[in-house]
Symmetry: C2
Subunit: 373 residues, 2 copies
């Protein structure tokens, strides 16, 4: 056994093997199945990446077309799931909507010999935008939208359901790239949660429902929402610099910077920032990106810390007219691909994940009967 | 970093500190907050144990009465939650019902400054029997039962909702003891799941929903259902011996035996077995316990392995006329106390739980455009 003080949070502890991705591996960086995330973000679409993660290899043209058609066919919500979603009040955290929707789907379409893990992975990938935006429109204006669509990809489907019309090529591709970058990231807290749940041989939905819960936390997926809230506090770069310095002096937690594994930069940030800039230009933004860039500069200068993926995802999503409360749900819509691949992998080489603890509580003591307390 | 082969499943890895329980600690055994589980099962009630786990100290008489009254006041389901439960089909796995019910409650009664973690822990403890049995009666015969009750404890409330009448003293106390034994068990897979989710600073419901998912698996909470199914295959001890030997020859997985942490016996099994025997006597059982005891004897002789808590809990629950599909949900109803204590503890000394992995996938490779695949 290792001294517990060294492993709080399991930092640096190898908890298993994976063939899915490398994160910050020296000289390799972030790769999915051996392909660099930079290449994938530049040359592939999200559906190719989803196929790659789940299947292990890039699809041929025919395989990709079949895959897109399969996903298209899976976008309709069961009626009972609609009824469940309609019960969730307008003020509900959208992550609670996805968590409850995923759990309920496990009751309507349980895993079985006839409905295997690949089918469920595809169904969840296709259905999460439908769950989220059906609920949103119903709570916003009582509309029961039709989530069926022949949109070619997830980014398109999401933006079409959100805004009611087909997105521009630029908007669609910007979101597609963000989904690629969010798709997979080794043994992060939500993926590790999925694997721990899967290690008890629980069903697929249980594992994913747990992953959604873990991703909801501000130290994980919730960071992009916090980054947006930070940027929106300020109207000019100078204001941002002053405000941030005050927050640092108060030792406030600043979200969207640094990473447990990356020590000098997040390769995903380098990819997402130019896309945020393209959208800023298209929207003639004079405020949000200048503020964000000043926040980055001050954090580098004062804390020697770099922005992570969540930081520039925030303005990118904002320029796409995506409400801030949907930022973390978008992370789910992308990450279901990585989670699925990890659940498959855990199941294929399973051992129950059950660590132990260092006991620091009271020593053995005699019971005191109620009458003597 | 440690060689990944040594830590698959994190076996023997200390993942943090706890003041809540010891499991199999040499010379100490299983203790909750320093009290031996044998003393607690003999002298305390489940509500005293729940209070002990959550508060850290045994309650005074007044504190216990207040606690019982608080739990009594929290047994009524919100109407919208009833509607959600009514959507879940009759064939739904009852663990999916609890998982979905818990997640949905997080939308109706979200964690907030006004509704803190202790209130939510109490609410879930009070409400899980209501969620489960409201759904069961609705799906079995369309009845919308009233789950409000002034039953003094959880065991009584559960048995009353299940059978429609107050339980006998023997039945009530037998279930109470089982709940005490199931209440807490250090960093098992579901508790570790709760802590991992809580470590992202996600809300309380997310952590518990994940815990339910992990507990659902047959390598964890699902073991008591599997043990029951095994026992019911046989009508005589000799038949059981022959059948078990055949299963062992086929290398079938036999549930309800052995444990990741305990190496020579499970102290909870020593406590639960006499209670199973008392109920067997009250029911003039000539079959189930003799079969179970022969299975135990054969497993000890052939595999040198001991029954764990799940093994004799199975006949105990069965004698209480509890359907087998509710065995694992009963585990949730008890373990919510331990989970809650661990979520409090994780939050009080938080560090994000994020291990790393050994990469065994393809080496870096160049991207191949779609046209060339």
């Amino acid at each position: 056994m290792i001294d517990a003080k060294n492993v709080e949070g399991l930092a640096g502890i190898v908890a298993g093997q994976t063939a899915i991705s490398t994160v910050g591996k020296e000289g390799v960086g972030l790769t999915y199945r051996g392909y660099s995330v930079e290449d994938l973000a530049r040359e592939a679409t999200f559906e190719e990446v989803a196929y790659l993660l789940i299947d292990g290899a890039l699809p041929s043209r025919t395989q990709l077309e079949d895959y897109r058609h399969k996903l298209m066919s899976l976008r309709t919500l069961p009626d009972k799931l609609k009824t469940v979603l309609e019960q969730l009040p307008a003020g509900t955290h959208p992550m609670d909507v996805l968590r409850t929707g995923c759990s309920a789907l496990g009751a309507f379409e349980p895993e079985s010999a006839a409905r295997g893990q690949v089918d469920i992975a595809d169904r969840l990938l296709a259905l999460f935008p439908s769950i989220l935006l059906y609920w949103l429109h119903f709570q916003n204006n009582g509309a029961r939208i039709d989530t069926a669509s022949d949109a070619p990809g997830t980014a398109w489907h999401f933006l079409e359901l959100l805004g009611g019309e087909a997105p521009s090529d630029l908007d669609e591709r910007a979101l597609d790239v963000a989904l690629i970058l969010y798709a997979e990231h080794e043994f992060n807290a939500s993926t590790f949660t999925c694997r721990t749940i899967a290690s008890t041989l629980a069903d697929f939905y249980s594992a994913v429902t747990g992953g959604i819960g873990a991703l909801r936390g501000p130290l994980h997926g919730g960071a992009n929402e916090s980054a947006m809230q930070l940027m929106q506090k300020f109207h000019t770069p100078d204001q941002a610099e002053q405000g941030l310095l005050e927050m640092l002096a108060r030792k406030d937690l600043i979200m969207g910077f640094g990473h447990r594994v990356y020590k000098s930069s997040d390769p995903r940030s380098e990819v997402i920032k130019p896309w945020a800039n393209k959208l800023a230009e298209a929207h003639a933004d004079q405020c949000l990106m200048p503020v964000a860039e000043r926040l980055e500069a001050v954090m580098r200068r004062e804390k020697n810390i770099f922005p992570n993926l969540d930081f520039y995802s925030a303005p990118l999503f904002h320029f796409l007219d995506i409400p801030t409360s949907l930022f973390t749900p978008l992370f789910v819509i992308a990450r279901i691909t990585g989670w699925s691949a990890h659940i498959f992998e855990q199941r294929a080489h399973n051992r129950l994940i059950r660590p132990t603890a260092e006991y620091i509580g009271p020593p053995p003591r005699p019971f005191v009967p109620l009458a003597k307390r």
